[in-house]
Amino acid sequence: MTRTIHLSLDINGRRHELDVEPRVTLLDALREHLALTGTKKGCDQGQCGACTCHVDGSRVLSCLTLAAQVEGRQITTIEGIAAENGELHPVQAAFVEHDAFQCGYCTPGQIMSAVACIREGHAGSDDEIREYMSGNLCRCGAYNSIVAAVREAAEMA
């Protein structure tokens, strides 16, 4: 017998209702149930950072978070950071400006992580950026440009 539970999730300022099995992760809820596919699945076991989202403003890994766990919390995904009028978030703009990607698969996670990293005050130097962005792997090795983009966005913030 498949058990399902009803959840009401607050994502990017909108309420979403869904019925899922309790084991469904926030990542699968976003991608498979709510068609919010900007958040990527890389390893699905907490090792790559591709699935990074914000819960109550903190960056977390949605692959190791149960959807049920974050009911009542404010969830922000990559779809929710640009302005209403479509203007890019400064970190998105800096990634474009610095060409901080190749295939782009890790990019939504990198950007969500960078937005939080700057807000936390952990983007003061290149070394600090590398340390505090180490949870986001890039298989294309775009790291130098990623650091440059984060640094520029941090300087402008």
Partner: protein, 327 residues
Amino acid sequence: MRDFSYLRASSAGEARQAALQAGSTLLAGGTTLLDLAKCGVMEPETVIDITHLSGLGGITLDAGGATIGALAKMGAVADHAGIRAAFPAVSESLSLAASAQLRNMATIGGNLLQRTRCSYFREPDVFPACHKRNPGSGCSALGGVTRNHAVLGTSDACIATYPGDLAVALAAFDAVVDLGGRTVSVDDFFLTPGNTPERETALQRGEMITAITIPASAAAKNSTYLKVRDRQSYEFAAASAAVGLEFEADGKTVRDIRVVLGGVATKPWRARNVEQALVGKVLSAETVEAASRLAMEGAVSHGANHYKIELAPRVVARAILKVGGLV
């Protein structure tokens, strides 16, 4: 991942009651539980979410020491100014662990309970033999790839390393695990595998960690956590050391010293023999190097992990010299 039912606990009492049921598991940050459920190592029938409980996430400090609620996040404790001032090794052990995202999710209680494990343990389909998963089934690591396995505290049944960082720092300063109804020192909380590697801690079914308390001391205030690993960040320790040091009034004779090793043993490894060899001595590179070698008393390697026996005493020595102001 096998399906389970989900219960959001509304009080600590309800969580404990539910956790008495066989097949029930508490869920805090979920970073160990969901990871191991996805590997098929943990197969809970009921997951009891304790993250919505209030009052268990606080950090309080006074002259006597610190109390950290079980649900405090690793990141919040790492960045806490009072913890950083009174217990630098504790703060460093946390900021050098995992990644920023994981530290925002993972709790202090869950961190202590991350499994003592090895990569064979994580692959039940490929490596069915594992005494820890299935007592009596054998050990796939013995005779296998052992680079990350323990050299201290092992048994014929299991050689898996306790991989956590925080507990290493806590053991140095005689921290205590508060289980609501009783307290256990961090040193006694963790068990060596012996013939029962499936039992890793003193936690009993239905018990919940509510807080960790750390007594203040001069050694804790002058402390460091040194972590050496295969890559610079986001990696478990190849060898680590938490060290705290207090000098006599002369500023060079050791009054109190704490030495605990991580990444090389089946539990956070307090090296009391190193401590005893240094108390009352004038700290110098020679005394420190000689004493640090004692940390490997009784060490046994299994092939590829032999390097730890060379590496760990050097990590200990460097950490002592650092808090002693000699490097």
